[in-house]
């Protein structure tokens, strides 16, 4: 039943041989050297400062939603950097390989990347950016913010929260390992069928892509369950449904999408795995298979995934715009309704990704109209934000600047999206870079919202704000780079440039391609600003107040900065929709409880981290067909599940005196503080 693969195979190493290490590729060797140096510096620093124990006790084994959220965001930023490096390589290749007389270096006939390497780069770019950068960062932000916004101590299932993170890390690690061991998929981030089938991609690239997504998407699905239960069951007293902050509403709708959509991706990839590993014929052209089944299944997940990304971005904007307009959000109820309308319609639009597949005009017409319907609730949101801004007392801090630029991107991406929703236009520009420019407007809207959110909530988590001057430099360079790059790309799309070109056959496109390259260079400048912003902010660490913006409206800004690991010393009673604004209005924002009660907290556990590492070993074993390693990884996961099932750890309690001390000295309970070892509760104490 198992399919024979070309090349050598041994029981010990499977398909893995020394030839899989790309030591003859100077680009990858240089990258490896860079990664190795940075990795060694980090490891040496951890050992030199004797922080290995701290790292294990406080981070790798943590179940604290804020630390897990921060690790999600760090993972996402690393992958964002990786995806950006891929973008830089794509743009540079296209700027170099123009016309038949363009020179070639490093083994390429034109430019510097041979076609197979170029194909891997754009495949990795999409996969890294969407699944391992945007998705984890947004998951991290919701992890950090939502429990605080609803007045909860933690997520509903803290252990499962850590498990979700480590499964995502395992998936991202596979993408990174593929850089230096073997190769990555050359079939696009969507997995173009039948290119992903074994006869057309006999290497391990597609397997890396497939297992990385499969493992991480289990983590995302588990997180969706966790988030939905948290919002439904863990709200503080008085936090009724229509007092929920809009970011929490969008998180709820996003995770309903995640819970219902990600299993479809899992099935689509499992069937592909059956084809590649077991010789099944789900997606082959003959033997009862159907190529389009894959495309259909992929986009049944793929389009809801777009809203999985964009709805939290809308939620972030709905929090930040009122704060910096010093007004309540205009049209709260319609905002919530629009959020769920978008989520609902997201399930009936996926076919617009393949209008040109040859479905009849009735089918294309249905999906065209359904797609256009998305514009109505989105328009409601835009008008609500504009009416919030109207006659507001506006402050243009960096989070606000990012949101306003996000509005511009939403307009550009939304209008071109309406164009693409018309099948006749879609037939004309299908597969051109016009489509790429359109969806980059949308995903960059997500990225701008992410940077807005990072700047907005950073002081809450770490107790000091990001440097505003360098933040503005970062904003202006990044937004200018985005505008330049993608305006040029829209123009190239109209001129007929198709996507994924490693060689540009029409020299007339040179000016616009070089304009794009200039935009990418400006992105590099923005990256320098970003790093400087982090460095200067960390160096200066100017303490932030509980409400660092002095006009925040929601519950999370009621907690001190940095927020202690137990979140609220006393579970808050919620009186209004914008609780902090209500308390400010009534002179209660500085009110402190007279007495504290013991706080019950979950204990840390290393089992979720071990599960993630077992999943990584299993994935690596499956990719290289090292069956013993895959089996050992799976066995490890099963053993951990059994061990966890018999684990009777009931958590621990923080006593009132300790809570009072930590409320007095915030550094004792902050995110970087090391906590003393606390004994778990006994069965009798728990009762």
């Amino acid at each position: 039943m198992q399919v024979a693969v070309p090349g050598p195979w041994s029981p010990l190493f499977g398909r893995l041989t020394l030839a899989a290490i790309p030591y003859d590729n100077p680009i990858l060797v240089a990258t490896f050297a860079g990664v190795a140096v940075v990795g060694l510096v980090v490891v040496a620093a951890v050992l030199y400062y004797k922080k290995l124990g701290y790292l294990w006790r406080e981070w790798l084994t943590t179940v604290d939603h804020k630390k897990i959220g921060v690790m999600y965001v760090i993972l996402g930023l690393v992958m964002l950097l990786r995806g950006f490096a891929d973008a830089l390589m794509i743009r540079t290749q296209q700027a170099m390989a123009i016309g038949p007389n363009s020179p070639g270096v490093l083994g390429a006939q034109h430019g510097y990347l041979p076609p197979f390497h170029f194909d891997q780069v754009y495949s990795a770019h999409g996969t890294a950016m969407i699944l391992f950068a945007a998705t984890p960062i947004l998951t991290g932000l919701t992890n950090i913010v939502v429990p605080l916004q609803i007045g909860a101590r933690d997520m509903a299932f803290p252990y499962m929260n850590a498990l979700s993170l480590w499964l995502t890390v395992a998936g991202a690690a596979l993408v990174m390992i593929s850089l230096f061991v073997g190769d990555f998929s050359a079939a696009g981030w969507v997995g173009l069928i039948p290119l992903t089938e074994l006869p057309y991609s006999p290497g391990v690239g597609v397997d890396y892509w497939m297992w990385a997504i499969q493992i991480s998407s289990i983590g995302t699905t588990l997180n969706a369950i966790n988030m939905i239960v948290t919002i439904i069951k863990m709200r503080a007293p008085g936090m009724g449904w229509f007092r929920l902050p809009v970011f929490t509403w969008t998180t709820l709708s996003t995770n309903i999408i995640g819970l219902t959509a990600f299993p479809v991706l899992g099935v689509a990839l499992a069937l592909l795995g059956a084809d590649r590993y077991l010789g099944a014929h789900f997606y082959t052209a003959g033997n009862g298979g159907n190529l389009m089944l894959y495309t259909n299944l992929f986009w049944i997940w793929g389009h809801p995934e777009v809203y999985f990304l964009v709805l939290p971005a809308f939620g972030i904007m709905s929090e930040i715009i009122p704060t910096f307009s010093e007004k309540p959000l205009f049209g709260y109820t319609t905002m919530v309704a629009a959020t769920f309308a978008i989520a609902g319609i997201s399930w009936a639009v996926w076919l617009h990704h393949f209008f040109t597949m040859a479905a009849g005009p009735d089918v294309n017409g249905f999906f065209s109209i359904a797609t256009m319907l998305v514009g109505i609730p989105t328009g409601v949101k835009v008008f609500n934000w504009m009416f919030t801004l109207y006659r507001g007392r506006l402050t243009f801090a960096t989070p606000m600047l990012w949101c306003l630029y996000g509005l511009f991107l939403l307009l550009a991406g939304g209008i071109t999206g309406m164009m693409l929703a018309i099948p006749a236009i879609n037939y004309t520009v299908h597969n051109s870079v016009f489509v790429i420019a359109h969806f980059h407007c949308m995903v960059l809207l997500v990225v701008t919202a992410i940077f807005a959110a990072v700047a907005y909530w950073f002081p809450k988590v770490f107790g000091f704000a990001l440097n505003e001057t360098l933040g503005r430099g970062f904003f202006w360079t990044f937004s200018t780079a985005t505008t330049i790059t993608f305006l040029a790309m829209f123009a190239l799309g109209f001129e007929g440039e198709t996507r994924r070109l490693d060689y540009i056959y029409d020299p007339a496109w040179r000016p616009m391609l070089w304009t794009e390259e200039f935009g990418i260079a400006l992105y590099c400048v923005s990256l320098v600003y970003f790093v400087l912003m982090l460095y200067v902010s960390l160096r200066d660490r100017v303490p932030a107040a509980a409400d660092p913006w002095h006009s925040a409206r929601t519950l999370e800004f009621l907690t001190p900065s940095p927020v202690p690991f137990y979140n609220f010393a006393v579970t808050p009673e919620v009186n209004a929709r914008d609780e902090l604004a209500w308390r400010r209005q009534h002179g209660l924002e500085h009110a402190r409880p007279e007495a504290f009660e013991p706080i019950h907290m979950p204990s840390n556990s290393g089992l979720s981290f071990i599960t993630g590492m077992c999943a990584l070993a299993m994935g690596f074993g499956l990719i290289w067909r090292i069956w013993w390693l895959a089996g050992a990884g799976l066995l490890g996961i099963v053993l951990v599940v059994i061990i966890r099932s018999f684990d009777k750890n009931l958590g621990y309690e923080i006593q009132p005196a300790e809570v009072a001390a930590m409320e007095e000295d915030l550094s004792l309970g902050g995110i970087i503080a090391e906590q003393p070892k606390r004994a778990p509760l006994t069965e009798a104490e728990a009762h």
């Binding site: 219902t260 009862g288 389009m292 049944i300 479905a359 009849g360 009735d362 009777k648 728990a686």
Partner: protein, 124 residues
């Protein structure tokens, strides 16, 4: 101090199933899946009857797993889970229904071949 929450047997809303339910659920799932596998391999009945048989076996499998593994019913403790499952039905109908419609349209326009060699779609 929080309420006792260490024993799942005290909480019917989180208690899943008993040994006999797990065993019988496992047997029911295996038998139904195996039956579907055999029916698919043989493909003796006419296409329409075959599709209905497969759909029926899938539904029976789903119901047996929901009832035996997850203990879903309409009791006060379980109704919210049962309702959650029912709420996925519209999504199921939407995604499967639109997929069937699309493939039917696609087959008519791209799979032009003699009727005798053509595999019918679910709408034909």
């Amino acid at each position: 101090m929080s309420a006792p929450h260490t024993n799942p047997l005290d909480h019917p809303e989180v208690r899943m199933a008993s040994a006999w339910r797990y065993i019988s659920g496992f047997i029911a799932s295996m038998v139904l899946m195996q039956a579907a596998f055999i029916v698919t391999l043989r493909q003796h009945p006419p296409y329409e009857q075959y599709a209905l048989t497969i759909a029926g076996l899938a539904l029976a499998s789903l119901v047996s797993q929901a009832a035996l593994f997850f203990g879903l019913d309409i009791s006060r403790a379980q109704i919210w889970k049962s309702v959650s499952l029912v709420l996925t039905v519209p999504l199921f109908v939407l995604s499967v229904g639109l997929t069937v419609w699309m493939f039917q349209s696609l087959a008519a326009r791209t799979m032009l071949m003699p009727a005798t060699t053509m595999q019918p779609t679910l709408l034909q």
